[in-house]
């Protein structure tokens, strides 16, 4: 549904996006990650036809965004960065304008309007000017605008920014609900969001793609992936370390505060650690297998990039 091919954008001498290639098929929710200024928003602005690429191309629903801009834009729902809105318009007037500009018939528009406001829980403020709304409501107005015409492709630039935890949960559930027959791209800083809704995540830094995989594949890149966290009595600490070192010579054992140990079993697995403890007849308070954390992976790879 979305095909991005060596997309590049220069602002003056600064290269914001550098030869980015990416394909997003139907049914996929792609988490678009990267530090601030990595080129996420610039990429989205190009794919939605707002900015013109310096080179490379992007196609949405088979329409080239440069050659066939309006056709491509007809199948995109877009929430721009910061959810801009005309402050003096009411929520309903703004949605109605977008629908009319998209050429929707009156009756279709009426239904679409109701559905979009339902999904984003905006009915209560339908007749309020947008400038009187809180940040969370404004974000949801932007979201309703993107959903209005039930597009095949959704491009959402930080859709949960400024929402409270309940609203964030609501938006994630909404994305999951409609994901099956759409291609959705969500940019975010919130890594738990990626685990919650995304089927795939890419990390970009300095305009380039530096990681691409399912959230669990990315988590596996954390050195702590598969490590064991043990809660131990300070008195037993020494015997636990001895027992594990004896059974698994290549294990890394890091103390975490005074009450816990993090054991990276190297080539062995967590069950080997458990077996070693069993064999030495040590009972510990807590035994947790860590799955790796996306934010650790994110920090590791984006900071390595910085140093290069």
């Amino acid at each position: 549904m979305i095909e991005i091919d060596s997309l590049t954008k220069d602002f003056g001498g600064f290269r914001a996006v550098d030869g980015l290639s990416l394909t997003v098929p139907r049914g996929e929710v792609l988490g678009f990650l990267g530090p601030n200024g990595a080129g996420k928003s610039t990429t989205m602005k190009m794919v939605t036809g707002f900015l013109r690429p310096t080179s490379g191309s992007a196609a949405v629903c088979g329409y080239d965004i440069q050659q066939d801009r309006l056709a491509a834009q007809r199948c995109i729902g877009y929430l721009p960065e910061g959810a801009p809105a005309w402050p003096e318009m009411t929520v309903e007037a703004m949605l109605r304008f977008a629908g009319t500009a998209r050429g929707m018939e009156k009756s279709t528009l009426g239904n679409a309007l109701g559905q979009a406001m339902d999904r984003t829980e905006l009915a209560a403020v339908a007749h309020q000017p947008i400038e009187t709304l809180s940040k969370g409501f404004r974000r949801r107005v932007g979201l309703a605008l993107a959903l209005l015409h039930n597009p095949d492709v959704l491009i959402l630039d930080e859709p949960t920014d400024g929402l409270d935890p309940n609203q964030k949960h609501g938006v994630r559930r909404l994305i999951a609900d409609i994901a099956a027959d759409k291609a959705i791209v969500v940019s975010t800083h919130i890594l738990e969001e990626v685990e919650a809704v995304c089927t795939r995540a890419v990390i970009i830094d300095q305009g380039r793609l530096i990681a691409d995989g399912t959230p669990s594949e990315l988590e596996a890149r954390d050195p702590l992936h598969g490590a064991v966290r043990l809660t131990v009595d300070p008195g037993e600490r020494g015997s636990v370390i001895d027992a594990i070192s004896a059974a698994i010579p290549d294990a890394f054992i890091d103390p975490e505060g005074t009450g816990a140990l993090i054991i990276r079993p190297g080539a062995h697995s967590a069950s080997d650690v458990a077996a070693a403890l069993d064999k030495a007849n040590i009972r510990t308070g807590g035994f947790t297998v860590l799955s790796g954390r996306l934010d650790a992976v994110f920090r590791t790879i984006t900071q390595t990039e910085d140093r290069q």
């Binding site: 602005k45 005309w86 007037a93």
Partner: protein
């Protein structure tokens, strides 16, 4: 994009823009100021009664000067505000052509000035009641004034598309409107006629709004003036389109 789609887009943009004028005090303030100043100029400075003639020359002669200040006030937000607030991104990611957006916004502002002119119609009724005016001349005056307002609007709208700062758009608009107005005033022409050839002086006079509007005020609808204002509008709408397009790079 088919012609029908384009029309729908133009009308959607136009109606949104017009509605936004009336959602804020802008519309009311503009209309009141326009009516008060045009009335004051007509009766006090223009000597409407002292002239003892049943025409609206005293009314129309002030229009270029009113527009110099009021049109930039109306047009300064046209594009600058969209760029500052980021709503330009919403507008240009809807499936509407840039040309349609430019024309829709222009038409909204032009129609709004048209409304301001319609609200001055009581002054026509006044001369009709007091005397026996040449209604053709007055109608020509109204049409000419409306066309001229479109010219100022296209020029100042273009300037608004060059900046994201409304104040800059306003100041640049007033200056540009002033220059295009006075290039036909005797003081400017005398300045040039001393040393520039008559061809140059003639060209400068031809570019002036005063020259063309003066023709309109004196007689029936001047075909030449109509063509002039219309081409001026088209030229600057085209320039606006390029200026908006530039924001995409």
């Amino acid at each position: 994009m088919s012609a029908g789609n384009t029309l729908t887009a133009v009308s959607a943009v136009m109606r949104r823009e017009l509605a936004s004028y009336f959602a804020t005090p802008l519309a009311v303030v503009f209309l009141i100021v326009f009516l008060l100043t045009s009335g004051a100029f007509t009766f006090y400075l223009g000597g409407f009664f002292d002239r003892g003639q049943s025409d609206l020359y005293a009314f129309f002669q002030w229009h270029p000067w009113l527009y110099i200040v009021l049109v930039p006030a109306l047009s300064m937000r046209l594009w600058a505000e969209e760029a500052r607030a980021g709503t330009i991104e919403l507008l240009l990611t809807l499936p509407i052509g840039i040309g349609a957006a430019v024309v829709g916004k222009f038409l909204a502002a032009w129609l709004f000035i048209g409304l301001a002119l319609v609200l001055t119609l009581p002054i026509w009724a006044t001369v009709a009641y007091l005397g026996d005016p040449d209604h053709g001349t007055i109608l020509a005056g109204y049409i000419g004034s409306f066309a001229m307002a479109g010219g100022y609007l296209a020029l100042c709208g273009f300037l608004s598309a060059l900046t994201r700062n409304q104040v800059i758009a306003f100041v640049a608009g007033v200056s540009a409107a002033f220059v295009i107005t006075v290039s036909g005033a005797p003081v400017v022409l005398n300045f040039f006629s001393g040393w520039a050839g008559s061809a140059v002086t003639g060209f400068i006079a031809q570019m002036s709004f005063l020259t063309h509007f003066g023709e309109v005020m004196r007689g029936a609808i001047e075909f030449r003036a109509a063509i002039y204002f219309l081409s001026f509008i088209l030229l600057f709408l085209f320039a606006t389109r390029i200026a908006v397009e530039r924001q995409r790079s």
